[in-house]
Every structure is written in structure tokens, then in C-alpha cells.
Subunit: 210 residues, 2 copies
């Protein structure tokens, strides 16, 4: 049997994706599950349902709560939490770079560094200068990577990835998908998603359902 | 010092409120926290932000996911799960009755029985006949309770309760509020809300935040 795996779909503007990105590797290691990093864009999915910005801005009471909840959850996990201004940041360039690195060891490292800059330090990841600095600080060849990230093939690949997300019913981030297609949404479901991926044969008793 | 308490705000159309209602008493007992049952209506709050029905209907991908997640979570908790038709059910009458009983032992009992009928058995709680049957099955005087539930004073009290919810920033259900005003949203936060209510002096380290 192949080693269990789990797809981790994330968007750089998503606050709760930050929490998942920072803790998924240790949990996956403990569960014996391999993570497939899947950067994508929520913007086109939100736009398709008529949203022009983050739901946390569209619904202010929910937004105020979310930032308080983030503060509590980050503290619980020992992570810094700072709101970037403006929120949400445009994560397009970061996602292109992350997609380029998704199957290399530097991809997840870059992803975590971007999230830490954005939600740990409140830095503007929409700004290419921030992305360049993040890459350079990791000892990577920033210019070469940014050049390749901006090539048509990579841009098209991110577009296709985002279309795949919509086609598979993804409506928010983070989202976790097991090899059998089982989907879990939200940082609060990370543990259950890993458990499912590690033991897909368990399933869910559904005798009680309609 | 007064015994720790926690407000439990719930709406009868809310699926995740069902899960919280069924497990809150045992968890609160273990935590040494007294629960204040707070039935209210989400409809006016949703309407104020332009929603005409449940967000799970407005956003079908999210709705499909929610029912699958409910099936998994209910199974994990050993609870039956069945979708009432139509969804959402109108919980106005049930909320009026629950409000009447909120400070009596029969109120929580009635609340749990309504949720079980609605999301455990898929019965139409919008139908006054269902509410009457639920009351009678609990050995309560259904006619007398329904009469009092429909009196102007009780109707006004539910309206005021709902306005209070909106004024306090409640945007969904279930919502838990500690005596110091700390708010927690969602069945996934029930444990943390109880922990907070039991030890409010703990607070959240926020040195890392903006």
C-alpha cells in the first residue's frame, strides 16, 4: 500500500491557513501521512459567488470575532499574530512562487516564511519586495525564482489549480482532501483529516442518516 | 466568588447548535460551569446582512460540505443525524417555548428534545403539531405552555433577546459568552469557552499582537 497522503489546499490571504501551515508538518509526521502542498486562489471562487472581498470584511461582526479568535488560537499554539494592513493581502505572487516550489523542499519552507511575514509580523506580502526578501532570507535565488514564477506556464498552472479547487467543491481555506476524496474544511479539522488519511477504511457509520 | 457561568446562545435552525445542545451539560458539569440557555433567532441577524435564507443554502458547496461534516461529527459523538425537509426549519415557535422554559429545568430538556426531533429524526419543527407532541412526550402541559409562549410579553421577550444578540456582536450559532464578555463561536469552540469561563483570569497573552 502507498504511504497515506493528504492534500493541503491553502490561500495566502487566509488567516486560518496560516495556523495550519505552521503545524501541519509535525502532525503529519506523527500520523505517518505525507502532505501534498496545494496553493490556490480563493479570490475567483469568492467572486463567483458574488463576494468582492474577504467575508471577514463583508460581515464586520464576523471579522471582529475572527481576529479575536486568531489571537487566542495563535497564542495557544505559541505563534505570533498580527493583522496586515490592508487585509486581505493579495497573495497572487506568493501563490505563484509556492506553486513552483510545491514539489520541492523549499516550497513548504517558503510558504511558512510568507505566512509568518504576513500574519506573524504584519508585513505586506502583496508587495513583490516582501516576497523577494523572504526568498533571499531563505538563501534562495530570488531573481531566478521570481522570473520562473512569472512565466506563462506557471501562471496557467495556478489558474488550472484554482479551477480544480472550484470543480472539487472547495469553498474556503484551509481545505484538506484525503485520497478517497473526503474533504475537511478549516484549521479545526486538521487533526481529523490526518486521522482519516491515515485510516481511510474506517469511514463513517451512516446507518442513522437519511 | 460566584460559580462560573457561560451563556449558550442557540437557534433551532442551526445544525451545529444541535451538537452543542446535546453535549454541553456533561461538559459544563465536568468543568464546574453553570449554563445559561439563551434561545434566539438568527433570521433577523441574517436578514440585516442581506441573507434571505441559510448561508448553507445560499452557498451550495458550503452547504454540501456542512451536511457531510455534520454526519461525521454526529457519528463521532454517537448522535443520529438526519436533514429535515425543508431546511432550514422555522424555529420561531420552538424558540418562544424554549425562552419560556429557559430558567426552569424543563427548558433545556425541551430544547434537546426539539433538536433530536429536528436533526436526529428529520421531523418538521416548523409545524406546531411537532412542538405539541414534543412537549406532551416530555409529560408537560402542552396546551398551557403553548398558550403562554404565544402571549405578547413572551413574544416581545424573544424579540428583545434577538436584538440583544445582534447588539452584542453575535453573527451565528451556537455562540458562547463568558461573564467577562469573551465570545466563542461554533460547536468546535465549546470546550475552550468552558475552559475560559472556568478560569477567566487566565486571559490570552497578547504581547505578540499589534
Amino acid at each position: 500500500m502507498a504511504r497515506p497522503s493528504l492534500e493541503f489546499w491553502y490561500e495566502f490571504a487566509s488567516t486560518y491557513s496560516y495556523l495550519s501551515a505552521m503545524r501541519i508538518e509535525a502532525l503529519a509526521e506523527a500520523a505517518g501521512v505525507e502532505i501534498r502542498w496545494r496553493p490556490f486562489l480563493l479570490g475567483p471562487i469568492f467572486a463567483a459567488q458574488g463576494w468582492t472581498t474577504s467575508p471577514f470584511n463583508l460581515y464586520p461582526a464576523k471579522g471582529r470575532y475572527m481576529w479575536r479568535d486568531m489571537q487566542r488560537e495563535a497564542a495557544r499554539l505559541g505563534l505570533p499574530c498580527r493583522q496586515p494592513d490592508p487585509f486581505p493581502q493579495n497573495g497572487l505572487l506568493a501563490a505563484r512562487v509556492a506553486l513552483l516550489g510545491a514539489d520541492h523542499p523549499w516550497g513548504p519552507t517558503f510558504t511558512k516564511a510568507v505566512y509568518r511575514a504576513e500574519f506573524g509580523e504584519g508585513r505586506p506580502i502583496s508587495d513583490p519586495a516582501t516576497i523577494r526578501t523572504v526568498l533571499a532570507d531563505l538563501g534562495l535565488d530570488a531573481e531566478a525564482i521570481l522570473l520562473r514564477a512569472g512565466e506563462e506556464a506557471n501562471k496557467a498552472a495556478l489558474k488550472a489549480r484554482t479551477e480544480e479547487a472550484m470543480a472539487r467543491g472547495i469553498f474556503g481555506a484551509p481545505t484538506f482532501i484525503a485520497p478517497d476524496g473526503e474533504m475537511f474544511w478549516g484549521n479545526d479539522r486538521l487533526e481529523r483529516a490526518l486521522e482519516w488519511a491515515a485510516r481511510p477504511e474506517q469511514g463513517v457509520p451512516d446507518a442513522a442518516t437519511a
